[in-house]
Amino acid sequence: MNPLPPLSQLIEAALFASNRPLTLDELEGLEPEATPAEFRTALDQLREQYEFAGHAVEIVELAGGYQILTRAAFAAAVERAHAMQRQPRLSAATLETLATIAYRQPVGRAEIEEIRGVNAGGVLRTLQERGLIEVVGRGEGLGRPLLYGTTPLFLELLGLRDITDLPRAEELTIALQPHKVEPDDAADGALASVEEG
């Protein structure tokens, strides 16, 4: 295998210095002379180098960008050596709220609360402060409620390239049925048919 070409070296240095994925756009700033195609080739060369030389790290496409991560097989040993700390797991309530937002985005607080049957204020705040969701717009209707959507960090957390990596509705045991919730009359049960959609 040939030594890494300069552009691959630059990319490696930048990816090593980052703890989040860098997009191709961002990487292109490293060398204004090089074309996007050259960058792609350089990235491939780096990827192949890691693979052929049997490195413990690899280049992963994540949240619309590229990041160097260790291969999953080494996590246990690294953890055993106390070289890293495990992240706290997300609570069930947090995951359910994230799931609701991921599939319904853009979605307002009233609809999230209707779907989960509980007050969502605290969880929404936590998710926002953690940078996993953000306000993406405002809804119609009374008070023009804030609408939430997921962020790139959400994709990173789950290791997804983009939002289409989420299982599609048809793949779920029960298909998702989009419907509109009127914030107020939901409680009094305007009866909706289960068959619709």
Partner: protein, 253 residues
């Protein structure tokens, strides 16, 4: 790591809503309801409302959730449904709208959310096995990037804050200013009239703590000024308040 979460101060705030999750493993009334339906192996489209409603009420009582608004609201819905199911259907059966339909729809929808949440949990676990760069060199000393800020961002933030203003906690201390001035006047009147009296007589029949404290401070203040003398006949015995003559001011200290 990329996804490392700083333990945020929000956690403490979140526990108000989150205690439900932590204490009993149910994330909300729908979760509990789904659990009851599954446990009984009931057809979700044909829930025996009367039975499930009773079980739900019993469960929130046992779990100590009968104070939680979200659970109470669901309990209310179930009871209403139970009543609706008992009402005569009237007319032909075809036009009858099953009052349970909305609940069934919500349960199915919630079941999906749980399924997705579970998938996401597994995905996050798999992702967590892949470690990002742990060491990041200290950032170079660069002039800060020009900040982007616009009025829409700010307005959206304000309204988010307004929506999320926390409800006051139950044990919050309420400022109730002591009315020392009033107590002083009351005691002075008593001293004028009686010369000596038991301290219990300085307040109303059912005094509040605030009132007791006000009187106590007033007494100490009057004693300091040499206007009255405080005497206790026995330890823990009642306090006797006596008018002080101007000549013995020093002794009052």
């Amino acid at each position: 790591m990329t996804t490392s979460f700083e333990p945020s101060a929000v956690e403490g705030f979140g526990t108000v809503a989150g205690f439900v999750v932590a204490l009993d493993g149910f994330t909300g009334p729908l979760d509990l309801l789904l659990h009851l339906v599954r446990e009984e192996q009931i057809d979700i489209a044909d829930i025996p409302i009367a039975r499930v409603a009773d079980q739900f009420l019993a469960a929130i009582h046992v779990l100590g959730l009968n104070q939680a608004a979200d659970y109470l609201e669901m309990a209310g819905r179930l009871i209403r449904l139970k009543v609706q199911m008992l009402m005569p259907r009237g007319g032909d059966d075809d036009s009858w709208e099953d009052p349970r339909a909305e609940l069934v729809r919500r349960l199915l929808e919630y079941q999906q959310i749980k399924e997705i949440a579970q998938w996401m949990s597994g995905q996050a676990e798999r992702r967590a096995l892949r470690l990002a760069r742990g060491y990041l060199p200290p950032p170079p000393e660069l002039p800060p990037l020009p900040l982007t800020l616009d009025i829409m961002d700010l307005l959206v933030a304000v309204e988010r804050v307004i929506t999320n203003i926390p409800s006051p906690v139950l044990h919050r201390v309420i400022t109730r200013p002591l009315d020392v001035e009033g107590a002083v006047r009351r005691i002075e009147t008593l001293l004028e009239a009686r010369g000596e009296f038991n301290w219990r007589e300085a307040f109303s029949a059912n005094p509040t703590i605030v009132e007791v404290l006000s009187v106590l401070l007033a007494l100490l203040e009057l004693a300091r000024r040499g206007i009255c003398r405080l005497r206790q006949e026995a330890s823990f015995g009642p306090l006797v308040i006596a008018r002080e003559s101007a000549s013995t001011v020093v002794a009052a200290h």
